[in-house]
Symmetry: D2
Subunit: 410 residues, 4 copies
Amino acid sequence: MSTFGTLFRVTTYGESHCASVGAIIDGCPPGMPLTNEDIQPQMTRRRPGQSNLTTPRNEADAVQIQSGVEAGVTLGTPIGLLVRNKDQRPHDYTETDHYPRPSHADWTYLLKYGLKASSGGGRSSARETIGRVAAGTIAERYLKLAYGVEIVAFVSSVGKVHMPESSTDSDLLSEDYLKLLSTITREKVDENTIRCPHAETAQAMEERIMAAKARNDSIGGTVTCVIRRSPVGLGEPVFDKLEAKLAHAMLSIPATKGFEIGSGFKGTEVPGSEHNDAFVKKADGSLGTKTNRSGGIQGGITNGEDIYFKIAFKSPATISQEQATAKYDGESGVLATRGRHDPCVVPRAVPIVEAMAALVIMDAALIQNARQTAASLLPPLETPLPPSMSLPPKKVEEKMVKEIVQEQQA
Amino acid sequence: MSTFGTLFRVTTYGESHCASVGAIIDGCPPGMPLTNEDIQPQMTRRRPGQSNLTTPRNEADAVQIQSGVEAGVTLGTPIGLLVRNKDQRPHDYTETDHYPRPSHADWTYLLKYGLKASSGGGRSSARETIGRVAAGTIAERYLKLAYGVEIVAFVSSVGKVHMPESSTDSDLLSEDYLKLLSTITREKVDENTIRCPHAETAQAMEERIMAAKARNDSIGGTVTCVIRRSPVGLGEPVFDKLEAKLAHAMLSIPATKGFEIGSGFKGTEVPGSEHNDAFVKKADGSLGTKTNRSGGIQGGITNGEDIYFKIAFKSPATISQEQATAKYDGESGVLATRGRHDPCVVPRAVPIVEAMAALVIMDAALIQNARQTAASLLPPLETPLPPSMSLPPKKVEEKMVKEIVQEQQA
Amino acid sequence: MSTFGTLFRVTTYGESHCASVGAIIDGCPPGMPLTNEDIQPQMTRRRPGQSNLTTPRNEADAVQIQSGVEAGVTLGTPIGLLVRNKDQRPHDYTETDHYPRPSHADWTYLLKYGLKASSGGGRSSARETIGRVAAGTIAERYLKLAYGVEIVAFVSSVGKVHMPESSTDSDLLSEDYLKLLSTITREKVDENTIRCPHAETAQAMEERIMAAKARNDSIGGTVTCVIRRSPVGLGEPVFDKLEAKLAHAMLSIPATKGFEIGSGFKGTEVPGSEHNDAFVKKADGSLGTKTNRSGGIQGGITNGEDIYFKIAFKSPATISQEQATAKYDGESGVLATRGRHDPCVVPRAVPIVEAMAALVIMDAALIQNARQTAASLLPPLETPLPPSMSLPPKKVEEKMVKEIVQEQQA
Amino acid sequence: MSTFGTLFRVTTYGESHCASVGAIIDGCPPGMPLTNEDIQPQMTRRRPGQSNLTTPRNEADAVQIQSGVEAGVTLGTPIGLLVRNKDQRPHDYTETDHYPRPSHADWTYLLKYGLKASSGGGRSSARETIGRVAAGTIAERYLKLAYGVEIVAFVSSVGKVHMPESSTDSDLLSEDYLKLLSTITREKVDENTIRCPHAETAQAMEERIMAAKARNDSIGGTVTCVIRRSPVGLGEPVFDKLEAKLAHAMLSIPATKGFEIGSGFKGTEVPGSEHNDAFVKKADGSLGTKTNRSGGIQGGITNGEDIYFKIAFKSPATISQEQATAKYDGESGVLATRGRHDPCVVPRAVPIVEAMAALVIMDAALIQNARQTAASLLPPLETPLPPSMSLPPKKVEEKMVKEIVQEQQA
């Protein structure tokens, strides 16, 4: 359906040529400062045509909060918001409409609904992602204010051009790469239009995209995202493990084909003895892990280390090249889609990935808040827990579970 | 939470040393023949120690249906089922319990809940998957009876030993591999204990596992799954695209680190012109795709082609090697886990992947049934739809949308 | 939360002084004709000030569909809709704002959220019901087109002025009253401004309201609603029995204090021997009940008889009389709310009740569609069911379960 | 479906003649002492045949916790529990099985599912309520330990025999009755087998029931329930107002026909000037209401006053009297149900009502915990809120919103 989340619940509407696209965000905590201007930057980062325009189109995709905010502060009630569509005319029927576009949703929408929007695959339009980005930005704002959470995504590959991630002698991510994950900022990411923070690679990626464009072709890529300073304890065993919710969120973004967290697919090739994240006492006395192959999640629950993951985006299906295919009626033919198309979408996918990540963390944090507060209201146990169910009885450092949890909430 | 699905809803309970593990399956269609014996085979395939035991432990993990079935037929009411735990004693506290096990859930359960089961990460136990397999087997039985759906998973890699998937000159899956996907059976998969249908690779995989075992180490791998004859039109835009639900389901299985569908991560490197799945008229007159890089899903909706995907399982965290790590109190030390451990879990993961796949398809099919039936009850439109929203007006073959859909339901 | 329903899912937003109020309706079947004009009549019936204005304010509360509809036909995707608020200025702070209004939500919103909208109880505003009515009207339109469902509500009491429901010698509803339920239309209901179909009673009700108005006081009442031609088999045991969903829906309407279905509270006083609804063969050969004390629902499931229920609305809390109460700071004082207030809301509640009834039936019908279609796709049982689980083996009339169900869907 | 709740989620299974009935409770806070013995007393109160047996059947309906508890303490993971059915034989087919029992669910289950359990309406069996009572008892235990919540239900009428609730000159509840609500205990309720705390009325009720029994007839009644010391701020606008959730919960209990909260149906007859609950400063400095016609809820949100409501239970459908009715095939006939039947169920309904009340409050408290904790983590606003959105600027007593909320959680 068009709803995501349990306690922080986002519902979106809208397709390409309707009056507006929008969203209702239900469950935003009350008392948070929020204006249209707080949402707009990520909306603008999501917009098409950014890299080719020197003048920013400030007027475009302007978000309008409808409800749930008064005097610039959230009320705790649903936040309605919308963005007007400029082109609200239904799509004109042309010769190309005899063809379901290959690897598009024209045909599957027709199969599912028995009819389709004139523009094709209805809600599979990129315009649908506007509501996600707006909602995710609100979630992110809360997480930043309450916990100092930082979410940064960037382009990690375009076609076969990959950022350097591992050293030559290992399948695991290099120290340098993990350091980049722990420090990367959106400002750094936006230094080039590709949104790849490795300048050399960004240059090669740009060339790869230009080559695709020159051939009226397209090319895919991957986006990597890191979530820093996430509260611990997020994720709900067993079906709503945090990585499961992240995978769900990411694979719901149009054109995605894969997701991996932590060491991912490469990690399957590394023996357990190398792959395990040994524990270590941190500078502040708390327990952490020496390495972070787990990607900040163990047993489906966040452990306080950086959460990082990668998403695969296929090459865009819309290309201006002629394609041999068949019409709806099965007759063979050649389809040539007119107009200018984006040869590579991964740079624009960056804020969408960040938005979906924020929605997952926000919802999980609210659910964990409920449990943690509930547990804290119980009177102390009369019989202490056996040591196997609690912390070992001796030599317990001050900086342990309770303190970590309390710090998260301070 | 411990519930999965909307209309076909599975809720599970149980950890390692409690009285039983079990599940409630709500939403199973009435009128389906079902006995304990229909569920048992997949339960048995999931059991540990299969390959080393010549005598099958028939008595073990025996599933007991509690409700929802009478005279061997489902009533449409919730099916309760349980499997007794043999060892119900709480875990004895030993020296090793001073240590949170590296890359296990001991520490994160403690962070999340403030206490933990004596056996460690509670619900992160492999025993938790029993309920999933039982529930998935019921879903699969329905899908087989109603639609002829076939779900087959197999081991596609162990460590660096991979089944041959592509030819040397392409990043895309080879014709041979796609043919294997379209024909592979569980019988074929079970011909060797590794559950890899490529005999040569299976041999190399077994050697790889033995090597890990010899070093008291462990090794990961991947499982590939194909769903054939899925109904068309499944998957709910925008947040519950079918691939998003599959990713959610798969990443909820313990020890998973990645998911890719269709061409997956490799597909991001192939230009759109090669990657697009052109349409073609099939032998029966219906519309299909010439290739299937999409993996049977476009715009989040099934198109009737084979659905196939791959899941990454990390190397098991439990190894008998000594590990330098820290205790709960932060003190450094060396942990040596005693006992015999499974050096590689992917063969046993095969029925779990199949079960979760069945749960996703089943739930999506019920939701699509609701919509399709509802749409079919509307009177015909007085004004016909414009051609851009429907099928083109001329030369429409008989074998079109409506017929395909009806056939699915015949 | 602000979402209602499982497969036909309505999410609303908006309070008194924000930019707009609106809703997203997710799960409307595709292929249904729908325009703003189809929704407007119930919106207009809901509007305040109808009875005092000779000129209808056609421009007011104009609903604007934003998405999910093209060429006047639903696409199956979410329908966004909104109604602009005319007065979008935040409420000016005055002396009366020192007081939480008695029996209003000012105080509880402050307790719940820690702050409140300047207009008082935020979403407890009557304006919130606009989204419900719009959504319910769409549901009702579908139910009418697909099944011929008829939903009619009316005012059954104002203060102590009640419509005649029972004869003097019985606590059960009279034949006359049940006949009225089976024939009443909205046109008939709207013949007077009170919306009570019993002319004499309507006159007395109007006098009762005028008396309240003259004293700057207010008065409550009840609304009765009947749903005719509902599909059979609706309602989900055990927690989502149809009457439970109806009660939930009705008690979510502002100012409601009670709900009763069928014979209701009075029925508790009648012995089982009189209260039971005996079965009888109907003219068309199908099985029906001779009486209908159950109100069309048995065991939580609709049986095809008329569904009827009554809802209690308390006397409006806003009155112009001076009220001795306390300020937020606990200081005693006298609150005099200025302005003109509606002394009785039940006439305007009529379309809101109808809307919520439609939402419940629509969602239940979609869920039952899913099950029924799924069951119909199973192959016939090899061993026939024992007679205790099916229809008796002999003398089964043609017009039985299957036919009734099929007829519902024809 | 068979699931109730969002964060405290109960799923039940089981019908009359299956192996067991049971439930999974997901979301119970960790760290709460819990044993089978804590659950058993309410199970025993629910059991049939209590009043006629001098020897308590201790062995009957013995609940067995399966999971989620170790060392007598909840782990925070799902609690599986079950109660064995003694009679697991399928129902023998007899002459009476040709008849759908009037006002039972036999016929509607057949309509809904196309088949039915041999015992009749499957899940509509009273045995289904076992899972609810077990789950509700766990919720209640938490609420008692964490907040001191007290939930007490009692029988308020049997047939036309009603407890005195109002004085003769008013439709509103009397001071005496409200005092009874604020002090009544389960011990007091259980002083007689009718579970009516007004001894004289209890005597008359018993006679009424004996009269029904003598005629092989049955009689209905009402149960009233009070929830004391509920946390403030519970209930989710707009569709999940607390009274809406309570109504849903109560109308999901078998045989219920009505629900009213606070002043209820009678309150609709009282003018607003009398009905409004004026505010008053309480002894402890906090704000309360002078009267409590609202029943502890305003705008769908709890205000800290007693929550009280009444539920209508129809006369049991199963009677030994001969009933003229029709067979499944439409043929007229006379049905005589053999065996001994309970002529009045309201005394046994008392613990079921208490259980459902606890489930509603528990779930609402967890959801409110999530919001409140989230709001508390936000940094203070830079610009203070306008007075219309907050507490008035002057003369604010110390004992205000924040303190009340904190106290609830202290």
